[in-house]
């Protein structure tokens, strides 16, 4: 980590700082920098600020804060108002995709135009996406991620189906299900792969934030009041349906061993979150395998410095701790940068922010214990289940390249099988793919490697034109 070394900039009086992501982390990062006299460039892929959890509805939509954000309404309003105050004072570039980078240059596309943005420091606040586990039939139309189903509701006030099942594990499962109930949707069932016993075991860590724990219980109570069947400790077996009509039902094995088939026309899946690390990976930042969540995450120090000088990360893209922690981490990364630039920084402030994150970190561990990633599910996938939906590659085909071609490393298996080669760039299949490879080869999952990041971070339109400056 570059903790001790100072950051040198091309124009020392006005360092060029680029923030990627206008969610809770990016907003607080921008605010902290601005307060110190640095005017950052803020790049965001969305049309409006707020990120995912505090996603703002399109201009002209008139739902109020409680309707949109429930228990988080006050925080959402506070963040949006902070952003609105900043907006005129920073170089804010919405609807802009940072698709690639080189040392000192971020490559961006906005409405079909390509621009290169020079930076001395890069603050990656790229957030997270759903962590998905394949299930036989998940390629059928009507299968969504939890995050996707939430965006449909929050952004456009639309339900993903007329009878919806929520399946997976993690806090988002209950949050989105209850948001659907509240919006008047027909929620057919909530199917959680984590057994009740895990929640008891996680209680000591979850009690780090009793307020959040209480909110979680309230969500569950809302679901019970609405008579939504909630099953814990289920084993997902298959999403039923056909190519013409899409999803018609989901079949699981209940904790008591019985089989349950729930008719539905849409399904939202998710197992908590995975960090968006592509830009950091392309920048050469180190990653490490996080034992708690069982996935690769960015290697950052406590204040958000990555292994590459001048590149910082905050929010769920650095460590999955939720929105409150993201706001604090955004502030902290900004303070770290200011310190590295040799600017005066209040040590007290840094310590206070760090301290607040310790509690959130304990809660993060509690969540991982309560809603564990069901690695064994990948190993148990039937051979005909699709692992990579972009390229339509089955678990059997992936196992075949491990067995017959000796591909016990994920990039090798990708080269031979195409798992992770499609337009999602392995976001939604590479973790489960790694579990399949690990199980088939008998190598621990942290030893089978991780898919190397490849540009573009998101698909790049062939209509893109270079801006001649």
């Amino acid at each position: 980590m570059a903790t001790s070394s100072r950051l040198t900039v091309s124009q020392s009086d006005s360092p060029r700082v680029v923030i990627v992501g206008a969610g809770p982390a990016g907003t607080r990062c921008a605010e902290t920098l601005l307060a110190a006299g640095i005017k950052p460039i803020l790049i965001d892929e969305n049309r409006r600020d707020g990120g995912q959890i505090y996603r703002r509805q399109p201009e002209g939509f008139k739902r109020d804060y409680p309707a949109l954000y429930g228990t988080e309404a006050a925080k959402a309003r506070d963040l949006h108002e902070s952003f609105d105050r900043l907006r005129g004072q920073i170089d804010y570039r919405p609807d802009t995709l940072a698709w690639n980078l080189t040392a000192g240059q971020l490559c961006c596309v906005n409405q079909g135009l390509h621009t290169v943005v020079d930076y001395d420091a890069l603050m990656l606040c790229a957030g997270a996406t759903d962590r998905l586990m394949p299930i036989k039939g998940w390629q059928l139309a009507g299968t969504y991620s939890l995050g996707g189903s939430q965006i449909a509701l929050k952004s456009q006030s639309v339900s993903i189906g007329s009878r919806v099942v929520f399946m997976g594990s993690g806090p988002l499962l209950y949050l989105v299900a209850s948001q659907y109930v509240k919006a008047g949707a027909d929620v057919a069932a909530v199917l959680d792969t984590s057994p009740f016993s895990k929640r008891i075991g996680a209680m000591p860590n979850l009690l780090a934030r009793p307020g959040l724990l209480f909110n979680g219980m309230k969500l569950l109570a809302q679901l019970y009041r609405a008579k939504v069947p909630v099953h814990l400790g289920v084993k997902p077996e298959e999403i039923l349906g056909d190519e013409q009509e899409g999803v018609s039902a989901v079949r699981v094995q209940l904790a008591n061993g019985n089989t349950l088939t729930v008719p539905c026309d849409a399904l939202a899946l998710g197992y908590h979150l995975r960090p968006e690390t592509q830009l950091a990976d392309l920048a050469g930042c180190g990653l490490r395998f996080d034992e708690v969540s069982g996935q690769w995450v960015l290697a950052v120090d406590e204040e958000g410095r990555t292994s590459v000088k001048g590149v910082y990360a905050a929010g769920d893209g650095a460590k999955i701790r939720g929105a409150d922690a993201a706001e604090q981490a955004g502030r902290l990364a900004a303070l770290a940068l200011l310190e590295d630039l040799g600017k005066p920084v209040s040590r007290q402030l840094v310590d206070d922010v760090r301290k607040s994150l310790v509690v959130m970190d304990r809660f993060r561990v509690g969540l991982a214990e309560a809603f564990p990633w069901p690695a064994a599910q990948a190993a148990a996938l039937p051979d005909d289940a699709i692992v990579c939906r972009c390229e339509m590659i089955s678990a059997g085909e992936l196992r075949g390249v491990v067995r017959e071609k000796g591909a016990c490393e994920v990039n090798r298996a990708k080269a031979f099988s195409r798992v992770g080669m499609g337009r999602c760039q392995g976001r939604y299949c590479s973790q489960a793919g790694a579990e399949v490879i690990a199980a088939e080869s008998g190598v621990p999952v942290e030893k089978v490697g991780r898919q190397r990041g490849q540009a573009p971070v998101k698909p790049l339109s062939m209509y893109t034109d270079e801006v001649v400056s």
Binding site: L101, G422, M462, Y463
Partner: protein
């Protein structure tokens, strides 16, 4: 740890090394192949996948023809087809005054087997209606095609192993020398591999080894610039490449049967030889997008979903090094393929096996002799 002596030791598990191992086994030679990483990772695994004869140096076509015959027989030889599609190759140009170059090439006696046909004007756009209006002429090679480079070297290595070869991956060579009549190759893990004959097929790293035998080659390294779109219905069987002297105009593409369009070309980058990684220059991708819209205007609705690069080696005269050492008996080379080695892979393997086993080859490879650099090096040293 001295390993049992074999007939032939091969250093470098790219396409050339793997194919040589396979064909040497066909001739009954005992073979060990040493690869520092895993087989087929660098130039062999990341190239465009052109199985193209037209446009090559005319003196290379005899070797290329021999290779083409082997590409056709892959399922019978190694049990896999490497997704080889002999779907035709079109070399197009943007200027009227470049058409005579294409015609001259098509008329050359060496190119006879390629059955080239030069198209221009209305006939060209009727036959290839998807090409942009800037395209003025083109030379069509009906028998050329494309294949999947990621599969090639590993498939040959597996076939070689099945045929009795020993392939040692993650085995890095520290030193090579000839002691008496025996080649001794010491690896970084302390093993000593020995053989009567030694073949160096180490691509961008080969010249470090050839220099140890007093035969340095001025080898340069570059990273190809590749990208691929999402899949769309298969409609473009012909591989298309632009013939031009302007570097940023160089662009070529192929659609694979499952629908993705693979694109290559533009200005190559310098790889990071310490970490052995090569990156695509973002400006290359943007340039490719623009060049592709010029060549294939209908592509505008697609997206680039992935880009990649790799490490290729280049010689000053753009010709590879293939053949025996000029200084040491029993030593052979096949490296420096300058970004156009993929099609040659099976042919080079077959030729090297013939040369190593019999002392000569029926295919002319004299243009690729390593001694051509000895003259340059001697001149350079006299000058300095």
């Amino acid at each position: 740890m001295r390993q049992p002596k074999v007939d032939v030791l091969i250093v470098g598990g790219g396409f050339m090394g793997s194919a040589s191992a396979f064909f040497l086994r066909q001739r009954g030679r005992s073979v060990t192949l040493l690869e520092r990483d895993v087989v087929g990772q660098y130039a062999s695994g990341v190239n465009f996948g052109n199985v193209r004869r037209q446009g090559r140096h005319l003196g290379q076509l005899e070797l290329s023809n021999r290779s083409w015959a082997l590409w056709k027989r892959l399922p019978e030889l190694i049990g896999e087809d490497l997704e080889f599609l002999p779907s035709g190759h079109m070399r197009v140009c943007y200027r009227e005054d470049e058409i005579p170059d294409l015609e001259a090439y098509a008329a050359a006696p060496e190119a006879r087997e390629l059955d080239l046909k030069v198209y221009a004007g209305k006939e060209l756009h009727q036959r290839f209606p998807f090409l942009g209006a800037d395209v003025k002429g083109g030379s069509y090679a009906p028998h050329d095609g494309h294949a999947n480079p990621r599969l090639a070297a590993p498939a040959f290595a597996r076939a070689a192993i099945r045929a009795g070869a020993r392939v040692e991956e993650r085995t890095e060579v520290a030193n090579v020398e000839k002691v008496g009549n025996v080649f001794e190759v010491t690896t970084t893990d302390g093993r000593i591999f020995t053989a009567d004959q030694l073949l160096i097929t180490a691509g961008a790293w080969a010249q470090k080894l050839s220099a140890q035998f007093g035969e340095p080659v001025p080898l340069d390294t570059f990273g190809p610039q590749m990208s691929v779109t999402e899949p769309v219905p298969y409609a473009l069987p012909t591989v298309i490449g632009v013939y031009t002297k302007i570097p940023h105009e160089v662009i070529y593409f192929r659609q694979i049967a499952r629908g993705n369009i693979v694109i290559g070309g533009g200005v190559r980058t310098k790889p990071d030889m310490i970490n052995r990684r090569a990156h695509v220059d973002p400006h290359s991708t943007i340039n490719q997008i623009q060049q592709m819209r010029r060549l294939l205007p209908g592509i505008g609705n697609l997206n680039i979903i992935r880009v990649w690069s790799g490490i290729e080696s280049y010689t000053p005269d753009s010709l590879p090094v293939i053949g025996p050492s000029g200084k040491v008996d029993g030593l052979f080379y096949a490296f420096g393929f300058c970004g156009h080695g993929f099609q040659l892979g099976p042919g080079v393997g077959d030729v090297m096996a013939e040369l190593i086993s019999t002392g000569s080859t029926s295919t002319s490879i004299s243009d690729f002799d390593i001694r051509r650099f000895a003259i340059v090096t001697e001149h350079a040293s006299k000058a300095s």
